[in-house]
């Protein structure tokens, strides 16, 4: 079968002074009609750049230096914008990662889909309305949503609307750039199913860009793995996933956490170190008719000494509110939270927190060493001793103590999360509450930070509350898991039991939605 879209030795140069000279280095692949081709890589690997280069949408400062982009055998690379406009949207559709920012908040959904027809066809208004209704039905949205505004839609619905727009003109090629990364796992599963279904029915060729090997396992026919702007390996999905040839692919696949929890560790004896009893929290807006959100409903949890309690849930389930209640950053409305059997207040050195976003949780104007020394200094530790402690902690979390005097922006995401970890540990807490500590990180860095956390837990005798949306991550580190939905704990139990024999229907739905659940990463060595 001939390729509908082919990249032939595409090379894009980065501006001088960047961390490498080429954004894309001799990238070649074919996209055949009716197949899903996955481009996989970590952040900065150039996978999104490849999509942008195909549509001639390279950011300013970047230049194509060599190579061709063949659409139906015609080279479209380097064409002026005017010549590319009939191609964009009509021949090549595109879906973006963030459906909120890709939709215009001031125009109705149906109007935005109709825009595709108005731009590219001479159809009459009535015909366009009929087409829009048909498209909404195709992406399984109720017809009434054509009159809705983007903010009235959920994330999944917005992404469906984006798919409807991208497929409106029946393009031969659909480029999907991380279309499910911002979505909850159950929504992601449904959107993936939709893309797969539409693509089969219409014979569209899909270029699917993702960082998640689970998603690849679910959707791809063929795969290309990118690293530093180069394709290091490409082939049939089955071959690449189960018999990876390139060392980089092998390392990436090895970093994907397995869904099988490790053998249970012996439970700590004695009373639990941290308890939450009947914790309730309601967020109230201001004004005459305030919006009331029930964030936590009667949550009761116990953390055993030396244990790791995972709290798993989708966005809006209240897990982050719970984390903040546990360290008393947020005052619970009712209920008791006790540490070692006693009530405590915010800033207690015995319980510390690690945040999700390593970019937002470090003050950009303080040196890494100061950030780590801050806690001990606040609690009356002398300058020299605080510095000695920071040096020791830097070693412990795998950072070079020479980096104490550098600013946060000089570190990578994984290194910053290590600084945040060192800061939390500087007060020698007994309990660490980690709120999605690895979800902003690439999969290989994620594996390193998880291993570090597990190692520190065992070495320092920490008890850990680990909050995550990712069941694979939870399986890797947690002894017990609590599943949250709408502010309630719907199921709690040992990780192994919960994964093998989920009791609550929602837990089962979550487990079924994990991307690539049918694929067992091969035990590559």
């Amino acid at each position: 079968m001939t390729a509908v879209l082919a990249l032939d030795g595409l090379t894009v140069a980065l501006p001088a002074g960047a961390d490498r000279t080429l954004a894309l280095d001799d990238v070649s692949f074919d996209l055949r009609p009716g197949e899903v081709f996955c481009l996989v890589g970590e952040s900065g690997s150039g996978k999104s750049m490849a999509a942008a280069a195909i549509l001639g949408l390279l950011p300013p400062g970047l230049r194509r230096t060599a190579g061709r982009v063949l659409l139906d055998g015609r080279d479209i690379a380097g064409l002026p914008d005017a010549a590319l406009r009939p191609v964009r949207g009509a021949r090549i559709g595109m879906i973006f990662q963030e459906p909120m920012t890709a939709l215009n908040p001031l125009r109705r959904i149906g109007d935005q889909i109709a825009e595709m027809f108005r731009t590219h066809t001479d159809l009459a208004g009535r015909d366009i309305a009929a087409r829009v209704d048909a498209l909404l039905a195709d992406v399984q949205l109720p017809a009434g949503l054509a009159r809705a505004w983007p903010h009235e839609l959920s994330g999944g619905q917005r992404q469906r609307a984006m798919i409807a727009m991208a497929l409106a003109l029946e393009p031969a090629v659909l480029i999907a750039d991380e279309p499910t990364t911002a979505l909850d796992v159950t929504t992601q599963a449904r959107i993936l199913g939709l893309i797969r279904d539409l693509q089969r029915r219409r014979g569209t060729a899909v270029l699917f860009i993702t960082h998640d090997f689970g998603v690849v396992a679910d959707i791809a026919d063929r795969v290309a793995v990118m690293q530093h702007g180069r394709i290091v390996e490409q082939g049939r999905a089955d071959d690449v996933l189960n018999r990876p040839g390139h060392p980089y692919t092998r390392a990436l696949i090895r970093a994907v956490p397995s869904l099988l929890p490790p053998a249970p560790r012996p439970d700590g004896a004695g009373p639990p170190i941290l308890t939450a009893d009947g914790v309730t929290k309601v967020w109230r807006g201001r004004g005459l008719r305030p919006r009331v959100t029930q964030a936590l409903r009667d949550v009761t949890l116990h953390l055993r000494r030396g244990g790791t309690l995972g709290i798993v849930g989708e966005s809006g389930s209240g897990k982050s509110t719970l984390a903040r209640c546990l360290v008393r950053l947020v005052a619970a409305d009712t209920g008791r939270i006790h540490l070692d059997g006693q009530a405590f207040g915010v800033g207690d050195p015995r319980i510390q927190m690690v945040f999700q976003d390593p970019f937002g949780s470090l003050n950009p104007r303080r040196r890494a060493g100061d950030l780590v020394m801050q806690g001990p200094r606040l609690h009356g530790v002398g300058m020299a001793e605080a510095r000695a402690r920071a040096v020791e902690l830097f070693g412990l979390v795998g950072l070079n103590p020479a980096a104490l005097d550098r600013y946060p922006h000089e570190f990578s995401g994984g290194q910053r999360q290590r600084i945040a970890l060192a800061r939390a540990l500087a007060l020698r807490p007994g309990v660490l509450v980690a709120d999605e500590p690895v979800s902003a990180l690439d999969v290989s860095v994620q594996a390193q930070v998880l291993d570090l956390l597990a190692g520190l837990r065992d070495q320092l005798g920490l008890s850990l509350v680990f909050i995550t949306h990712d069941l694979r991550v939870a399986a890797r580190i947690c002894d017990r898991i609590a599943v949250m939905k709408d502010g309630q704990v719907v199921e709690e139990g040992p990780a192994a039991t919960l994964f093998a024999d989920p009791r609550h229907p929602y837990t089962r739905a979550l487990l079924d939605a994990v991307p690539g659940r049918g694929w067992k990463p091969p035990g590559v060595v």
Binding site: S361, G375, R423
Partner: protein, 276 residues
Amino acid sequence: MAFLRRYAASPAAVIGLVLLAVVLAMAASADLLFPRNPLALAGRPLQWPLANPRFWLGTDTMGRDIAAQLFHGARISLMIAGLATAIALAVGVAIGAVAGFYGGLADDVLMRVTEAFQIVPGFLLLLVLVAVFGSTLTTVTIAIGIVSWPATARLTRAEFLSLRQRDFVAACRGLGMGDVRLILAEILPNALPPVVVYAGVVMAAAILSESALAFLNLSDPNVPSWGNLIGAGRSVLRTQWYVSAIPGLAILTTVLAVSLVGQGLNDALNPRLRRR
């Protein structure tokens, strides 16, 4: 160093800095070049510039040396502008920081007070204050500071509102840090860059306010400010226009310099904005 390089990358910012340096040099050298009282009678009134080698910028309606008044006036104008800006920043940042950090009732009360100041046109309020408290150098400076703080307060509040939500603030709270330290040591340094940039606008406006007061004969008549000189030239504006035009040019230059430096600071502090 990187900051200096980014600043120097903009020609307009460098020109602004040079102009500001010239005005500062004028202020610094006033006593050296014109040791006599600049408000004393120096010669025949209304001599045109360059007509008499002793008065190369001419003399005003009362026979005072315009060049001497210009140099000494640089001191007064810069001092009024600098102090008024300092007052406006101190009051504005303090009120904005408390309102933005605590929110709720404190925010409501402080912002209503701020709005009370904002609904009165600034210059009108300035006239009222000067009319009530008299027009000495001190009262004029304080009055200009008082009418200039509300915008700074709003800007600081907006910065605090977004910064207090950031995780690093929660992290510091989790370490046991108190509110005063959080505000002063953690949030304020991050909130300052836009405020510092805005200070340029406040300063330029302060110079203009003082000149406008002086033009209406409402500023301190006992100091050689640029505004006073313009006011003095008002009666001969059609025939001996240079009496008002020369200090006017000085005001224009200074305001331009301060604005360019402010803009340059803005670009250097927010390098991402500039690349558009």
